[in-house]
């Protein structure tokens, strides 16, 4: 158990009177790529946002690399941390957003080096050299000086991936990374993600791309109505689903 990068136990979350997560359990081991599938409103994005505490939990517990993001354990009890301490714990968890959320007033390079300099205390020269490498890695060599607006959606998302990688995260979260892209741009982002998965990055990916789940996932988790309905290898869940709800969801993609 202690080898897991991510451990979630009984995670519950409500918005007003609507319960979005009704007790989620999930373990992710180092190097594993877990793809979370499920219909809209099933709570998969909310769960992802609970992992790095962009949403607070109402009940249950999530640890990343053995530590709670928002709490310290003292005398057998969890104690809330200060915002600055939470910020420090988030630095090991990378996140890629549906809407990219690049900083529009910074160039691609500035987007990438901002957090390594501010949070990891890297020198500007060191951070810049690494950012240039990362941009090349996501297929955007030479676009250092481009502002986000001058890039296509697919290119922006790849800059966002490079920005998250610059923090050398132990865990990467992808929140529907291709849902805001034009269909012809989805492939380039998925290809980048597949390379990361095979390079051994630990990833949790919320997506509607069944083909990506089939090709890149070590494990597929199907969620519905705030619960994990079933999980297993892509062959088990996608090709031979055990639950009616999974079958109903997957039938829409055939």
């Amino acid at each position: 158990m202690s080898t897991a990068v991510l451990q979630a136990r009984g995670v519950r979350k409500s918005f007003g009177h609507t319960e979005v997560l009704s007790g989620i359990d999930l373990d992710v081991t180092p190097g594993e790529t877990v793809v979370v599938l499920g219909p809209s409103g099933s709570g998969k994005s909310t769960f992802l946002r609970c992992i790095n505490l962009l949403e607070s939990l109402d009940a249950g517990r999530i640890t990343v690399d053995g530590r709670d993001v928002g709490y310290d354990v003292r005398n057998g009890r969890l104690h809330e941390l200060s915002p600055n301490e939470i910020a420090r714990r988030r630095k090991d968890i990378g996140m890629v957003f549906q809407q990219f959320n690049l900083f529009p007033h910074m160039t691609a390079l500035e987007n990438i080096i901002e957090a390594p300099i501010a949070v990891l205390g890297e020198g500007r020269r060191e951070a810049t050299a690494r950012a240039v490498d990362l941009l090349a890695e996501v297929g955007l060599a030479g676009r250092e000086k481009a502002y986000p607006r001058q890039l296509s959606g697919g290119q922006q998302q790849r800059v966002a991936i490079a920005r998250a990688l610059a923090m050398r995260p132990k865990l990467m979260l992808f929140d529907e990374p291709t849902s805001a892209l034009d269909p012809e741009l989805v492939g380039e982002v998925l290809a980048t993600m597949k390379r990361l998965a095979s390079a051994g990055l630990t990833m949790v990916v919320v997506t509607h791309e069944i083909s990506f789940a089939r090709e890149a996932a070590d494990r597929v988790v199907f969620m519905d109505a705030g619960q994990v309905v079933e999980q297993g290898t892509p062959e088990q869940v996608i090709d031979n689903p055990q639950h009616e709800r999974t079958r109903a969801f997957l039938s829409r993609f055939l």
Binding site: N52, L54, P83, N84, A87, R88, R89, R90, K91, D92, I93, G94, M95, F97, Q99, N101, L102, F103, P104, H105, M106, T107, E114, A115, A118, V119, Y147, P148, R149, R163, A164, M167
Partner: protein, 307 residues
């Protein structure tokens, strides 16, 4: 007429819009004429009406007392705006904070200072000693460490700075709040997900983007402030207007002295206009719409329009 209409399609192919006859604009010419007549009249009056006293204007324009008054006006503008901006940022942050007490207090402040005339606030601070004869520094409800006579502390200058600065803070708070709210919440989340502290997110990510929405109305506020400082003449502070008034009360050259004052205000606000256009360009990095250049107001035809 009927024959032209019928001939047109037949002749159509070799016609070209390039050679089309332009529409006539008789009303444009007529309105231009009216404006020109008024302008000519204005120029004639400026030159021939001796009551303007241009020689008096010229001799007082750079007089030492006037320049000193201008200095007070500029100093007041700068100090009051600095107080206003700092206070405005603080109040705006309070207004959007999670703490309901802070939100309420900031709201009350803004309500009061926007809801009463600046002139009244100035006179109020000037007469503060009538309300609080002594100002004490100490522990609330506890011992007093230092005490000072209000009349000694609140000079006309300090009353002016307090009146204008605290009032400005209320307006700046709303401008800053609007700017902060205009930034997409995803920007804060991206910063948080990267492990950045809230103060750093505010400084490096939110504020620079909010500045695009904060700078233009703040430029307006600075220009208003330059002119609002003229209100301090009611509390006998020798700014530009008060200096001019005390001169014409002696010499009865009212109109020339007011023209001196107007020329200086125009000069200062013109300089500010240029400064503002440069600041706007700076904060528009990466933005879709470029800020208008300083010279745009001289353009008769809008940029990019064909005719």
């Amino acid at each position: 007429m009927a024959t032209t209409v019928q001939d047109a399609p037949a002749a159509g192919l070799e016609l070209d819009v390039r050679n089309a006859a332009h529409r006539k604009h008789p009303w444009r010419w007529l309105s231009a004429l009216v404006v020109l007549v008024f302008a000519a009249q204005l120029v004639k009056m400026l030159i021939t009406n001796d009551n303007f006293g241009w020689d008096v204007v010229w001799s007082w324009l750079r007089a030492e007392s006037i320049v000193r008054g201008l200095g007070i006006t500029l100093m007041l503008t700068v100090v009051a705006m600095v107080i206003g901006v700092v206070l405005g940022v603080l109040l705006a942050v309070c207004r959007i904070s999670a703490n309901p007490l802070l939100r309420g207090a900031a709201g009350l402040y803004i309500w009061f200072f926007r809801g009463t005339p600046t002139l009244v606030q100035l006179i109020f601070f000037y007469n503060l000693s009538a309300l609080l004869p002594k100002l004490n520094l100490g522990i609330p409800f506890g011992p007093v460490f230092a005490s000072v006579d209000t009349n000694t502390l609140i000079t006309p200058l300090l009353a002016a700075i307090l009146g204008l600065g605290l009032n400005e803070g209320a307006y700046m708070a709303e401008i800053v709040r609007g700017g902060l709210l205009s930034v997409d919440p995803g920007q804060r989340e991206a910063g948080q997900a990267l492990g950045m502290k809230n103060s750093r997110i505010m400084k490096r990510i939110i504020l620079p983007q909010a500045m695009r929405f904060i700078v233009p109305p703040t430029g307006n506020q600075v220009i208003s402030m330059v002119k609002a400082t003229a209100l301090v003449s009611v509390i006998a502070l020798s700014d530009l207007l008060y200096t001019a008034q005390s001169i014409y009360n002696r010499t009865f050259e009212t109109i020339p002295m007011l023209i001196v004052v107007c020329l200086w205000y125009l000069a200062v606000t013109s300089v500010l206009y240029v400064v503002q256009s440069f600041i706007e360009r700076h904060y528009n990095r990466g933005a879709r719409h470029q800020a208008p250049s300083f010279w745009d107001f001289l353009r008769i035809r809008p940029k990019g329009s064909a005719a």
